[in-house]
């Protein structure tokens, strides 16, 4: 083996469809390994499905990003102490108290009720794509607007503000945009959401924010800043992730015609295809990090309090112990045991919304645009190899 004793992290994907090559090697030889992060920090890396699940369900491992032992992929980006801690950084009872009031908004039946509106949003986005002329960038016309407009619907953003909300949130999540401009967009979105929450407090409507306000009033727990922070978190967590999966899922189907045929010929296949695409790309990968707040053990390796752990979702989802021929895209495999949405009490709050959006997008796109094709070669697609959330910047298509 040529790898050094202490592997460096992050490791980058070298092909749009594959995991970093080091993942398989580590899973086979050192499934729980101490790695070097940028800066002076070390972390444990987990690459087995079983260990990733165990770690994410272990109450000894904390999500608190302010803990100095919390492993950071990029050096020096620890959140400031005065920034309100969103639920993704909370543990135990505090996390449960923050999450509990919102979970009904994302339940399977509630999301099912949103499907006609999501369908309408997807249809309109495809109209715009087709009107744009060829080649058109699928990221710009479909991947980015769909989740943004779904979040507008969820939060109750008035129609007149959709354009503003969409343009700012597209800028906010675009890593090709200058960091100062992105920061300015983040501030504008935050200010907008602050005003929106104030409006809803005056007149709570039949939407997520309105219902949260009424619920908090009944409990005596009204918290304006907390609600603005929640709205911002829902946007951040639900926009770029879903957008990247729309782009990558389309890319994967267009480059695997046999798999595309299975989905196009039988819409009953789409929900399983969505699970497989989530597994295959595992775009959040190293986003599921933890810090030990008590001594524990993962996969036979003692982990001491204060040490960091990164549960690599992509490595887990390519574990041959759980998924046969893990590097093959197979839309008919039952891939539901993937950990692309994480595991444990922090498992993605919006997962059913994401599933619905992806299912509707792929079904509608393949049905309405049967001649859809990549405008160039796969090697020309600019991918986010080194970003925290994997995706592609552009996806030029023809039809």
């Amino acid at each position: 083996m040529t790898a050094p004793d202490v592997p460096a992290f992050p490791m980058n994907r070298t092909c749009p469809f594959d995991a970093p090559p080091e993942y398989a090697e580590l899973r086979g030889t050192r499934p729980v390994v101490s790695a070097q992060l940028p800066g002076d920090q070390r972390t444990w890396l987990l690459t087995r499905h079983e260990d990733v699940r165990a770690a994410l369900a272990d109450p000894a491992l904390s999500s608190n990003r302010r803990n100095p032992g919390f492993p950071l992929r990029a050096f020096g980006v620890r959140p400031p102490a005065d920034f309100p801690q969103p639920m993704i950084g909370l543990d135990g009872a505090a996390h449960s108290a923050a999450r509990r009031p919102v979970i009904s908004e994302f339940s399977v039946p509630r999301v099912h009720a949103l499907r006609p509106r999501i369908q309408q949003i997807v249809d309109e986005a495809i109209d715009t794509l087709l009107a744009a002329g060829q080649p058109a960038d699928l990221v710009r016309y479909l991947s980015l607007p769909v989740p943004s407009l779904v979040i507008c619907e969820l939060l109750g953003v008035p129609y007149a503000d959709h354009e503003f909300f969409q343009s700012r949130s597209a800028r906010l999540v675009n890593r090709a945009v200058d960091p100062d401009e992105r920061m300015a967009a983040a501030t504008e979105v935050r200010e907008y959401l602050d005003g929106l929450v104030t409006e809803k407090e005056r007149e709570p409507g039949d939407d997520l924010l309105g219902r949260q306000i009424l619920r908090a009033r009944a409990d005596g727990t009204e918290d304006h800043g907390g609600l603005v922070s929640l709205a911002f978190l829902l946007l951040i967590a639900g926009h770029e992730t879903t957008a990247n999966m729309i782009s990558l899922g389309t890319l994967a189907l267009l480059t695997h015609p046999d798999q595309l045929g299975l989905v196009r010929d039988d819409p009953a296949t789409t929900p399983l295809a969505v699970e497989e695409l989530l597994r295959y790309f595992s775009i959040v990968d190293s986003g599921t990090a933890r810090v030990a707040v008590a001594d524990t053990e993962i996969g036979g390796q003692p982990i001491a309090a204060g040490e960091g752990v990164i549960a690599l979702g992509l490595a887990a989802n390519r574990d041959p112990q759980v998924f046969e021929r893990p590097d093959d895209l197979d839309v008919t495999r039952g891939a539901r045991h993937h950990v692309a949405f994480g595991f444990g009490p922090h498992q993605c709050l919006g997962q059913n919304l994401a599933r619905a959006e992806l299912t509707i997008v792929f079904d509608t796109l393949l049905r309405r645009v049967p001649t859809l094709a990549l405008a160039g070669g796969v090697e020309d697609i600019p991918t986010k190899q080194d970003a925290t959330i994997y995706g592609c910047y552009e996806l030029p298509v023809t039809w």
Partner: protein, 65 residues
């Protein structure tokens, strides 16, 4: 087969409902798990085992008899 659900640890991920809607549902107001039955018919036993395995919060358990 008897099953039980702990709504205090349930996080409303909905994995069980996706697995077997004939046995599992989610409460409209709270989003937490609701059991249509605590003694699912034999035809649902495999799906119930899958749901227990998939539950991210380990809120479901099987009481074998």
């Amino acid at each position: 087969m008897r099953i039980s659900a702990d709504t205090d640890v349930c996080i409303g991920a909905g994995q069980c409902v996706l697995t077997e809607p004939a046995v599992f549902d989610q409460d409209d107001a709270e989003g937490t798990v609701v059991l249509h039955t605590t003694e699912p018919a034999a035809e649902y036993e495999d799906a119930v085992r899958d749901a227990v395995q998939l539950c991210p919060a380990q809120a479901l358990s099987i009481v074998e008899e």
